[in-house]
């Protein structure tokens, strides 16, 4: 046994040797492999998202026939048109109302679902998620038929309780409400399921501790549940704000912008102007208006997500 009880005196001179050793080469090769593995992802992100986003800005500065640079002309023309301002109003009105409704109904349902015995939850959850599962364009088609002016099944039900016939898609305010209804119908299950997951992640002991401290059920909600869920609520709301603001399917199927272009949102109006009327630069300009709001939401989502990650570490 080479029992050298001697002390190994440290010489703290961390001289890294000049020769590039193979471990380093191994590490370098590892990052090469890693880069190759992420290359397809980069192609998608850069080629199909980042580049088009920048390209959209370029497109929006061209004249109608895309032959020459037109500066901010497209934006100026948009600002002068009433239709555009209607679109801007309708987009914001639609997104904010729909998200608020989805968030509150979703929260309520998640809470109710959380309160019933565990073994029943699966069944209810399964039923309540159905609207989210059907492709939106197809379920909206069903709604369209339910709103049918001459044979509306909803109006028939309303007639049973003696409510006069509603011109669902005929009048622009009713059409706006109809669009919000459909969006809430589709999107609420998502909120519900997210909040349910969040509710389940709150440790039961916290409620027990709060109950022993004398908190009423409302106080438990206010001082335990909401703070614990604050982050996930903000993530879900902001994320939904983005998606709802950029919604296209419902407006396209339900009203196609009508009546009199009063239910257009940015996405459907951009589509109408850019693709259907063939004015690509103007359409690009319209769609770009979604960008600032989306960027703000994205910023806050990212902040919440990073904060959440930090908490979990």
């Amino acid at each position: 046994m080479a029992a050298d009880g001697s002390l190994a005196v440290s010489d703290a001179s961390g001289v890294s040797r000049g020769s590039a050793n193979t471990m380093q080469r191994f590490a370098r090769r590892r990052s090469t492999i890693a880069f190759v593995m992420t290359l397809p992802l980069l192609v998608v992100i850069v080629g199909l998202v980042a580049y088009p986003a920048v390209y959209a800005i370029y497109l929006s500065t061209l004249n109608r026939r895309m032959t020459e640079f037109a500066g901010l002309l497209n934006f100026e023309l948009l600002f002068e048109s009433d239709t555009f301002w209607n679109v801007a109003f309708q987009s914001c009105f639609f997104a904010i109302t729909a998200v608020l409704l989805k968030a509150s109904i979703g929260f309520w349902l998640a809470h109710m679902l959380h309160h019933i015995p565990n073994k029943g939850q699966r069944k209810w959850r399964g039923m309540l998620l159905v609207p989210w599962v059907i492709p939106p364009a197809l379920s909206t088609l069903g709604w369209w038929w339910m709103f049918d002016p001459s044979y509306s099944s909803i109006n028939w039900l309303l007639a049973v309780i003696s409510v006069p016939e509603v011109p669902w898609l005929g009048h622009h305010w009713w059409a706006r409400i109809a669009i919000i209804m459909v969006n809430v119908w589709i999107g609420t299950p998502f909120f519900m399921i997210m909040y349910l997951a969040a509710l389940k992640s709150v440790p039961e002991q916290l409620y027990e501790a709060a109950a022993i401290d004398g908190a009423s059920s409302w106080q438990r909600l206010r001082y335990v549940t909401l703070p614990m869920m604050a982050n996930i609520i903000s993530i879900t709301v902001l994320f939904s704000l983005i998606v709802t603001f950029a919604n296209y399917d419902i407006v396209r199927v339900l009203t196609n912008g009508g009546p009199r272009d009063l239910t257009h949102v940015f996405a459907s109006y951009a589509f109408q102007v850019g693709i259907l009327s063939g004015n690509i630069p103007r359409g690009a300009a319209v769609s770009l208006f979604m960008f600032p709001i989306l960027a703000i939401c994205a910023f806050f989502v990212l902040r919440s997500v990073t904060r959440r990650n930090k908490e979990q570490m």
Binding site: I33, T38, L41, V49, Y51, V133, L138, T236, V243
Partner: protein, 298 residues
Amino acid sequence: MSATAAEPGAPGIYHKAGSLSRERRWALWTAYASLTVAAIIFLAPPFYMLITSFKTSAEVAGMTGNPWLVRDPTLENYWAILANPMFARFMLNSIIITACVVALTMVISILAAFALARMRFFGSQVLATGVFLTYLVPDTLLFIPLYQIVGGLGLLNSIWGLILVYPTLTVPFCTWIMIGYFASIPKELDEAALIDGATWPQMLLKIFIPVALPGIIAATIFAFTVSWAAFVYPTAFVTTPDQMPLTIGVVSQLVRADTFAWGQIMAGALMAALPPVIIYAFLMDYYIAGLTAGATKG
């Protein structure tokens, strides 16, 4: 103890216990009532679609009586839609597109997520954030420039053009949740594999993919449902029925064909919606895991 909190004159502790259980019963009753109302509203539209799909054209055209009832149920709408070569074409297109996009998405996102979760390299952190940001960019912001780009490649009005652009919908989210799943695998597991003699590809194939299988299933389901339901891109890029997937096909072509063919339209829409619903019915837990993974894992 609780007697002091009870209302004056209440017979002490027993009364309190009774009120507690009554409170709980009330809460339960409210819960069931809310859920029942919600379930009725949530299930009414698909139910009405189903009812309509069983109605004869004559009954739909009649427009009288209770619309929620069907007088003489028929399957003729289903036979008609199944015999319609256009519908078969939509279905085939949807299947081709979805299969390609799902395969493409999973390969891209598993490879990238493995690299991003485990092989730290220059800029990997920035890229991971970039993936998340990309996920937040909606398709309606991109379809006009993509229209130009796809057009430039000569892929407008072709399912291949759709296969090219659909990954923008699926890849960021799938990569994001796969990073989460891979990151949750303990680091010692790959060190053990490294010492056991595994190379990087072996580690991915024999350790990471099997261990993260639930995550991969969740991501696959997500990619499937998203590309099956995609609407903006096919609406923008495809104009002839022979290249249309189901969503836009049913919405544009069937509706255009005959304004009174509501039974057929609903039958078509329901059948088009069937694959995601079936997957949901059988793999609900994975479906929900994928849905909530973005926020709970990330």
